[in-house]
Assembly symmetry: C2
């Protein structure tokens, strides 16, 4: 029985460890460093809020590292500070809903990308049209301006599409097109 208890704990450890590793490995996609990814993955399996000291012991890193890492995770809204009576230390809990995270992250990124590029495209189109309207401009330059304008029109389409996508994720509309399915185990 002693034996078995030990075994169960080991199994639990193995199970969690496997998922922690894969989360940490894939989290670079969301713009966090491996260490910060690993911190999040570790918190993902904590069902009670953790202190900075807990984290530093768990990961074998310094406390300032934990402090900055956890702030980064708060910035991207996947870790929250919680309050508990009687504790002086700050306590943190991981947001476990990946959809929330996904939406936030890509929504922001795509919106930023679209906005920035659309601004540049608008500016460029203005200049290029000036060239086309200038009777004294060299033919070669005019041709190139025209070619650029054609290209930029396509780019504009793409930016607008990105905005649409971001918006449909933000509003949740996308889940009408691609519903979230409660899936059954074993693939």
């Amino acid at each position: 029985m002693e034996e078995n208890q030990k075994n169960s704990e080991e199994l639990l450890e193995q199970a969690e460890r496997a998922v922690i590793n894969s989360i940490a490995e894939t989290m670079d996609l969301y713009g966090v460093t491996p260490s910060i990814g690993r911190l999040y993955a570790t918190l993902y399996f904590k069902h009670d809020p953790q202190t900075l000291d807990d984290m530093k012991d768990e990961l074998g890193m310094s406390k300032p590292s934990m402090s900055t890492a956890v702030r980064k995770l708060q910035d991207i809204d996947i870790v929250k500070k919680v309050w508990k009576k009687g504790t002086r230390k700050d306590l943190f809990l991981a947001e476990k809903n990946f959809f929330h995270y996904f939406s936030q992250f890509f929504g922001d990124k795509w919106e930023r990308e679209a906005k920035l590029n659309l601004t540049a495209i608008n500016y460029a189109e203005e200049k290029l049209k000036e060239i086309l309207e200038d009777e004294d401009a060299e033919e070669k330059v005019k041709q190139r301006a025209e070619q650029d304008l054609k290209q930029l029109a396509e780019y504009r389409s793409y930016c607008h599409w990105l905005e649409q996508l971001a918006q449909s994720i933000d509003s949740g509309e996308i889940f009408e097109f691609l519903p979230i399915e409660k899936t059954n185990p074993e693939e």
Copy 2:
């Protein structure tokens, strides 16, 4: 007239420069360094294929840098090597369809993320179920195993959803839900 020709060229330069800067700035989203992003942005406005020497002159960097940068861009399929009679130097042309790029990039990333995590989730679920079936396991451990299983079921849903999304982008189905619109200028 001399004056005006000069002016048109300047306008063209300004127009292209603005878009090059914004592309370079947003391209980190697609996992390339600023330099490589800038190289792509520069190639985006070249209507004739460019040699490594062209690029190195344009960006003021070394040839080996251009060589590795252009290979990276080939890897992610947004630059193609082209062949032209009579030239000994390699020639490269930018893929200008951003949808193509978007699909490729996120499709791959999301598929990889989903696959890797699903593998870990499957492994973990197996172990956790073993714990639940073990009569000698401590109650505390069993409870935690159950909690983990619940969490992982949600995570599995997310991974499957990601796979769906990747697939619908890959197949183009997503464009039925979010059509690409030919947009008109000035926002």
